[in-house]
């Protein structure tokens, strides 16, 4: 009895959390993490057993990166506990995580190309004697290390002479090398196949298979077929929560997708009933005539009517992002022209396009959309002030703040005040500030690249509704997007881009004739 009550007061690691079938090599218990107003992870518990390859899937913003960052000590969890071999641990940083044998293979290749292979392998942990590097020893050891792993690379070559695939292999070798003190390392692979050709992918999978007995792998990928091919078990994250766990044998691509999205992509979600009917659209306001950038993009022609949403989709590298930049004047058009409200423009810089009435909402709002450490007011008025003179030479700051306050209210931007820093707002509200900038400037045409990227579901819905309201007021939108359901849901017509130009005539996407994702994908590839 006494023993029992002690157990309750001090539960041992084995008593709580998911039932474990064996010794977990890494276990995460009830981890939560939030960034200001956004919950990035909510009460997530996962368990990795030795010799397992575990898949981690989820939409953008589902919390995969946050989880990886916590596993490698880059971020501290707000709540919860990590266990390594059933011992509670805290990682102060990637190096400490590595000392426990947990290391990450980055999505972007994290190698110094002007160093040799072995120098990269020993980077930060060089062997030296009396201040001199023991280069021969490191080279020999590195070679035998990679040979033992079954990785076929020459560590004496400069990394810049490696193939893309070899660099990837070097990265993996590095992950093993930094955790070589541990006898059951945990290797986290973040989108390891991104950029790999088919045979490179096969090599990688063979390698993972071969090393299965020596390590635990976490495989993070958007490519569900790969996850199904290589993993033993799959965790699905959605909006920061662990929503499902599958034995890979029992999982299908559809089931995974369903768990990731977690909802039927409903017409309601994209406010389809509010979509303007074709008969209800105005005159063409934005006409693109054979626009071209060198030989890479174009010629592309289309026209967007008042109040219309014109969707553009395409695979990575199809040129849809570049097209957006041409329309924004950011990439100069080498041929062709644009006309906005009947005025012809030869875009050479964003100045021309903003003059003409086209505003650009970039994909990455942090690096291109916002002055993060300045106020909501200054961010919102940034486009407006260019055409604003009060009593010369002073800005009419009264008009500035009244227009800005109005726009903040219209868009329902949740900020403590107009003078609060944009940095502190949630992603959704930050995105609304970017949109607000163009509304305050009374811009009739908006070019949006992935308008809902990296914001949570509720905020997405608000942004979609906002887009509808904008079109109702007569604003026209060119909507470039990676998320097909979003583009399908919002657009009146959709163009598919392929190798720099449109694959076909734009497809009708009026409310009762929406194309399916499959139809678009067929055109994309």
């Amino acid at each position: 009895m006494v023993e029992h009550s002690m157990d309750i007061e001090q539960p041992t690691a084995a008593d709580v959390g998911p039932p474990s079938t064996g010794e977990a090599s890494l276990r995460v218990e009830n981890i939560s993490k939030s960034f200001r107003h956004v919950d990035a992870l909510v009460d997530v518990s996962i368990e990795l057993e030795p010799g397992e390859v575990v898949g981690l899937v989820g939409e953008n913003g589902a919390g995969k990166s946050t989880l990886l960052s916590i596993l490698t000590g880059v971020l501290d969890p707000d709540n919860g506990q990590l266990y390594r071999d059933n011992q509670p641990v805290e990682f102060a940083g990637p190096q400490e995580a590595a000392s426990y044998g947990v290391s990450l293979v980055h999505q972007e290749q994290d190698v110094i190309t002007h160093f040799r292979g072995y120098e990269n392998l020993f980077l930060g942990r060089e062997r030296e004697s009396m201040g001199l590097l023991k280069m021969d020893e490191m080279s020999t050891d590195a070679q035998s290390f990679v040979d033992d792993l079954g990785i076929d690379i020459d560590v004496d070559k400069f990394v810049k002479d490696y193939s893309f695939n070899e660099r990837q292999m070097l990265e993996i070798a590095k992950a093993f090398h930094v955790s070589s003190k541990s006898d059951n390392p945990v290797i986290l692979l973040d989108e390891p196949t991104a950029g790999l050709e088919e045979d490179g992918r096969e090599l990688l999978f063979d390698l993972i298979d071969d090393l299965r007995d020596e390590a635990t792998f976490v495989f993070v990928s958007h490519e569900l077929d790969e996850v199904l091919e290589i993993t033993d078990r799959i965790y699905v994250l959605k909006d920061g929560e662990l929503v499902d766990e599958y034995e890979t044998d029992e999982a299908t691509q559809d089931a995974l997708q369903q768990s990731m999205v977690g909802r039927e992509t409903s017409a309601e979600y994209y406010c389809v009933p509010d979509q303007r009917r074709e008969s209800n659209l105005g005159d063409p306001v934005f006409e693109v005539n054979d626009i071209q950038h060198e030989d890479e993009i174009g010629p592309v022609s289309f026209s967007v009517r008042r109040g219309e949403v014109f969707g553009v989709v395409g695979v990575e590298g199809s040129g849809k992002e570049r097209l957006g930049r041409i329309l924004a004047g950011d990439t100069p058009a080498t041929d062709g022209s644009l006309s906005v409200l009947g005025e012809e423009v030869q875009p050479e810089s964003p100045v021309d396009m903003v003059d003409a009435g086209v505003g650009y909402i970039p994909k990455d709002r942090k690096s291109e959309g916002l002055l993060l450490y300045q106020s909501v007011l200054k961010n919102t008025s940034l486009a407006m002030v260019r055409d604003m003179y009060g009593r010369l030479p002073f800005l009419d700051t009264n008009a500035e703040s009244s227009i800005t306050e109005e726009t903040i209210e219209d868009l329902n931007i949740k900020t403590p005040s107009a003078n609060s820093l944009v940095h502190g707002l949630s992603g959704g509200n930050q995105q609304k500030v970017v949109i607000a900038r163009w509304l305050a400037h009374e811009t009739p045409v908006l070019v949006m690249d992935n308008v809902s990227r990296g914001i949570d579901v509720g905020a997405k819905e608000e942004v979609y509704r906002l887009c509808r309201e904008l079109t109702a007021e007569g604003i026209s939108i060119v909507l470039i997007g990676d998320e097909l359901p979003e583009v399908i849901g919002l657009s009146n017509r959709i163009a598919v881009m392929q190798d720099g130009s449109f694959a076909d005539e734009p497809i009708d996407a009026s409310p009762d004739a929406k194309p399916t994702e499959e139809e678009l994908i067929q055109l994309m590839v």
Partner: protein, 333 residues
Amino acid sequence: MSTNNTTDTVRNWWHEQREQRTRQDWIIDLGPFVMLFGLMTLFSILSQNFLTYGNLINNVAVNSALLLLVALAGTFPILQQSIDLSVAALVNLSGVLTVILVAQFGFLAIPMVLLAGMLAGFANGYVFAKLKVPSFLVTLGTMSVMTGVALIITGGSSINFRNDAIRGIATGEYLPGIPNLVFWSVLIYLGTVFLALRTKFGRYCYALGENERVVELSGAKVDRYKIYPFVLSGLLCAIGGFLLAARLSSASPDAGTDLLLPSIAAIVMGGTALTGGVGGPHRTILGVLVIAVLQNGMNLTAVDPFVQEIILGVVVVVAVALSIDRRKIDVVK
């Protein structure tokens, strides 16, 4: 009821400040005030002469007037995340030009000197913005050029002029009890504050310092707004050089050379980060006053001049280290 609302507003404001601001933000904002107050208290105790109108106006204010002009000049390029290292050299060159031109043209020399300063600044800005050369390299180069020109004109020694009317611009008192040097520097200070806070130019300076891409995509003529701060810097340095020469009735090619380091220190101490985007000329004056009070107090308390150099250097480095904007520390090189 209304008191409740007021309390709530204050509490909300305070809550937001607590949430949004790091300890470093507070150090940056309040540090210069604390330092200034601390130094003034210290020197009032150590020296009876410190806290007198005569000392504060005729020594602290007059001696810091030139530093203020140069620091204000340097503030705008730093605000937009570039830097103008040629400020002190341009003060020297402008002083030398003043002496030469006053002898020939009298009062007409003033606009000529100011124009020359703006042209020099424009050259800096043009090479920086259009040819995309890092501003510290451009201005390091022009610094050398300006010094060379000043040396050639003067032959390396000090040159004089006699013109009491011109001299009076710097040494007279338009307002009784306020030396003209102080009058001009305060006037120009107010002008730059308005420029920074109430004009489009100022707005873009801050925005460019924060993120050039965002400004570019918002449709601003970015190149132009990258050049303007250097033109302004040139103008302010020319004014400084003119006032310096007018005050002494002479100029030498190295009269203002010692201003460069203290001016950058004053800018950063005031709260304008070398990484741009925050601070501004209204804050620069605080840094200038800290340095001026420190120097004056050390003189009054008879600190050995060589030791003064050391103390000044240490204070500058410590103050700058405390106020560097660590959010953007990656950028500091």
